[in-house]
């Protein structure tokens, strides 16, 4: 009985945080994929300088950890350049999307490079321009190779949204921490509930990932 009463107290408080978690997640997904495509294409560009700069960005963001990037963007970046990132919301979203954008740009690059050479040659033989070749022939085939990995990154991004509570955003974990500090004996239930909330948010993403895997295998001859 006690646990059910406590559940009634805890549940409505935690649910307030869902809005922030979901909005951080959605903004990071949009910006993250955008970064991935832009950086992925830049690394394949003919321009050496562009290639080197994006290469540097990708290596820096893949080589350091997300939590360090988040703190750096939130605490250090405004001091160094005298610009505020805007708010902790944008610091969080930028850190997550730049980090995962760097990882996913490698997927974009790898998939485009692994489209069979003959496809490009055939498109050239049909007198297509470089842009047409990419848009009509190579890219559509590359996208289906990217899909399963992209799905996995959705779940990774959801998990990383929990970090924004560390820079003072009021997400699910933030409310969980508040409840824990007000009543330590409730901690097991609070954190279990937080975990279940995240899992419920992850379920559609897991389902989507499986769908994408199935989709990308459909109609492709195995080699």
């Amino acid at each position: 009985m006690i646990t059910i009463n406590a559940l009634n107290d805890v549940f409505p408080i935690l649910i307030q945080g869902i809005k922030i978690t979901v909005s951080v997640l959605l903004a990071s997904i949009v910006l993250g994929y955008l970064t991935a495509f832009v950086a992925g294409f830049c690394r394949l560009s003919k321009n050496v300088i562009l290639r080197k700069i994006t290469g540097f960005y990708v290596e820096v963001f893949r080589g350091t950890s997300l939590i360090v990037q988040l703190f750096w963007l939130y605490y250090a970046f405004p001091i160094l350049f005298g610009i505020e990132v805007g708010s902790n919301f944008w610091a969080g979203v930028l850190a997550i999307s730049l980090n995962y954008g760097a990882y996913m740009s490698e997927i974009v690059r790898g998939s485009i490079l692994s489209v069979a050479k003959g496809q490009t040659e055939a498109a050239t033989a049909l007198n297509m321009s470089r842009f047409q070749r990419m848009r009509l022939v190579v890219f559509p085939q590359a996208v289906r190779m990217m899909l399963p990995e992209f799905g996995n990154y959705l779940i990774l991004m959801l998990k990383s949204t929990s970090l924004v509570s560390l820079i003072g955003m009021t997400d699910i974990l933030y409310y969980g921490d508040i409840l824990r500090s007000s009543n330590l004996s409730q901690a097991p239930m609070v954190y279990l509930l937080v975990l279940i909330f995240y899992f419920i948010l992850a379920l559609p993403l897991i389902w989507l990932t499986r769908k994408l895997e199935g989709f990308s295998k459909k109609g492709v001859a195995s080699q």
Binding site: E59, V60, R62, G63, T64, S65, L66, I67, V68, Q69, F71, W72, Y75, A76, I79, L80, G82, I155, L158, K159, S160, T161, S162, L163, S165, L166, L173, G176, D177, R180, L184, S185, Q186, A187, P188, V190, Y191, L192, V194, L195, Y198, F199, A202, L205, I206
Partner: protein, 239 residues
Amino acid sequence: MNSWSWEVFFDAFPAVLEGLGITISLTIACYLFALVFGFGWTFIRRIPIKPIRWLIIWVMEFIRSTPPLVQLFFIFYAWPMVPVIGVALDPFTSAVLGLGIHYSTYIGEVYRSGIENVDSGQWEASTALNFSNRQKWTKIILPQAIPPTIPMLGNYLIIMFKEVPLASTIGVLGILSMANDYGAQYWRYLEPLTIVAILFLILSYPSAILINRLEKKMNRRFDKKTVLGRMNKGKGAVM
């Protein structure tokens, strides 16, 4: 106060560096834990009773798709409050358990993919040769399943190294905590946090290159075509 100062940089450097030992030993401890625990997952999900297998698959999915940060908090703050089985753990042990269990589910999948890639003929042959179950695993299957997964396991070591600063949130005094402490003390976050980023970069980038090279080497060695080619060449020499 507002811009980059080399003086602060050199002042903060030794302070941050003090945490490096903890960060590296935590990485190794978590990794070893995950390597061992991963085996546990791989074997219990082979239990031939359907409901149990389902339960284990879902537990793995649950651990994998919820944030490691929350799991750390659960183990550090909530575990001592759990009646009967709860024990209070120090931050380091909590971090080893939390991150170790989280990544063991990933590493379990790596082992599984290695085992599934072993040719089914190997199982049949070992049965035909009357090997016991134990011999089958230790003499035939695992020696073939594990080596090809080494580059992937190496990748997870680097990933883990980058996840370890999460433990600063429960008070493990790694490089990130040291930088935060320095920042709080002198109100300068820019230099110490930059030092942390640089340390991560110079440690993880060369290891990533090393793993990459290892992967290429391994691929050449375990690629089915080259292996078959080598075997055929051997045969030709004998005949």
